[in-house]
Symmetry: C4
Subunit: 195 residues, 4 copies
């Protein structure tokens, strides 16, 4: 089974997710700087989620460069990933509109965690169906970032719920830190393909 | 006539349908667990419909792997399928927001039934325009699941409307059962293509 | 300049237009048959516009089958067509929510007229930039339907505004009639390509 | 790394941006000409932004015609461009609904400025990763329009905020002027490729 339509469908879903998030930036009624500045928590949340979905698109792109074939299990593993990513617009808006309150930040962390787990399962499903000798396994290598990220998300959930002032902001800072270590593109595969 | 643009357009419409359904998950105003849990019927409906549209995408993908050419009749049979699928966001939201009340569940079953009928008509239109000796006819085989599914939907509609407590939940359970027998991917075509 | 990305972008925009129209089908609050039936004018308008956008997609698909190259003028002629089609969700919702009142029906006719004109201009721009001896000119032929449709839309606009009961419904019936003569797919090009 | 998926993803995002802007054209409740005419500032803003996104799509299309390979830096430069363009629906609606008030017009200018800067950075990133002797550098040439446009946007921001009647309309006229000099398609690359 060829990978072309899976890539096209994933591109479509990711493009829609990344774009409809902006619909949560409700247009203020007054034409003032104050009205605009009142949107900052929603805007910051939007920027974070835009970068997150961008990271997933980049990694998905790199990953499938090294993929030759897909099977039914991969199709569902991919839809499973898209499902959790489709909850990002909801989690982003809830977190932003409530100015990083504890529960919405924890829920955002949960969505991020589940997406990371789904990505891991997609990688396993892909490795399983490639013919022997493909570059995919070598290309992925030790995948340190892929192992650290879900741990950070898992830690951020209880931290957000701690009865301590600003605890959810610590969790938010952890999300930002994960984004930063990923924006450096996933050069592992690129390097292996080139070698 | 080549099948490329038909696949691309269908991927686009299915990607949008599967993604805009999440817009019906209205962001609650309070940042509490209770507010989140209040969304469970809408969320469960969303999960079901996400899986349904995913099934259609997977089956569409498998089906067109075995297709060589399309004609005008196929284009319209495909648009007819997309039309009924485009009503899923509406039916999903109405069912979820009304906590699986009788009429919305019956309407959901009607949309599912019409989509199944439209898929059947698409398969017929495709078989009709393929040159002799293509794998499509053999690949589809007896299509037991494709025949059972619309029967289940057709039965679920009157069941939902029975004046018995929890009757609509029985219909909903029937929808879930159909989803489960389909998530096992449509390996029939895959197997024939491989043979 | 290759036509691939122009087709992909047009497919994307048409897929979004055809799908977001369903968002205007507002989910009713009550789970009753009456609440559902109250949506009939919006639903009928949605069906008509779904078919219209489907016709444009089909014709666009057929047209570009016979096209070899595109130039800058074609890119803008294509965007011009997409602009008028992008107003269909607005015109559809306004017409449906006002139960086919005079002004919204006239505005719908205006949008349909402008889209037809834009399609005609796109065809001219395409013919102009094809190398000699391509099948496009022969394929399009006399294009009777393409000439009748805008005339019908142009006539439907003043008819909708006549101070006579049910006059807008006559215009609506004219829109339906045009849709019907087009659903028979644009076989002219198909035939020429085959010959 | 091939450019195909980057083009497909960008097409998807641009198609969604250009189409969801029309959702800001809120359907009026009354079926009257007056209600329709009351939408003119939102409509005019929509037309301007439709043309702007169309220009970016055309230029993106031309630019990538001359591109052979992309790298991780290009992926992020492209996402950066899409980010600023994704704010156009917000800026457009805010400007239109407030009848071209000072602050929203200035914010629109800021979004336009940042998108122009992001496009410039994307061009730099592309030139950097092309192999020697590609047509890209020659194709881009002196890029006078690409240098003038951000200057005009940068000037339009303080002008909109001047405490003078109609100052924001002068800025708006500057946006329209930039659009007009770009609609003439980006023939520079086309010409070089042909030569």
């Amino acid at each position: 089974m060829s990978k072309g339509r899976l890539e096209a469908f994933s591109d479509g879903v990711l493009a829609i997710i990344i774009t409809i998030m902006v619909l949560e930036l409700t247009v203020p009624h007054e034409p003032t700087i104050e009205a605009l500045l009142g949107l900052w928590p929603v805007f910051i949340s939007y920027v974070l989620s835009f970068v997150y979905v961008g990271i997933y698109w980049n990694n998905h792109h790199h990953l499938f460069q090294a993929v030759k074939v897909v099977d039914g299990r991969v199709l569902w593993a991919n839809l499973h990933l898209l499902f959790w990513l489709s909850l990002f617009p909801f989690a982003t808006a809830w977190m932003g509109e409530n100015h990083f309150a504890a529960v919405p930040v924890a829920v955002y962390g949960f969505a991020a965690l589940m997406a990371a787990v789904a990505y891991y399962l997609l990688v396993r499903a892909l490795i399983r169906c490639q013919p022997e000798g493909t570059v995919l396994r070598r290309a992925i290598g030790s995948d340190t970032k892929g192992k650290i990220s879900p741990l950070v998300y898992a830690a951020a959930i209880p931290i957000a719920l701690l009865p301590i002032p600003y605890a959810p902001l610590v969790s938010f800072a952890m999300f930002v830190a994960v984004a930063l270590i990923w924006v450096v593109p996933d050069v592992r595969i690129e390097r292996t393909l080139r070698a």
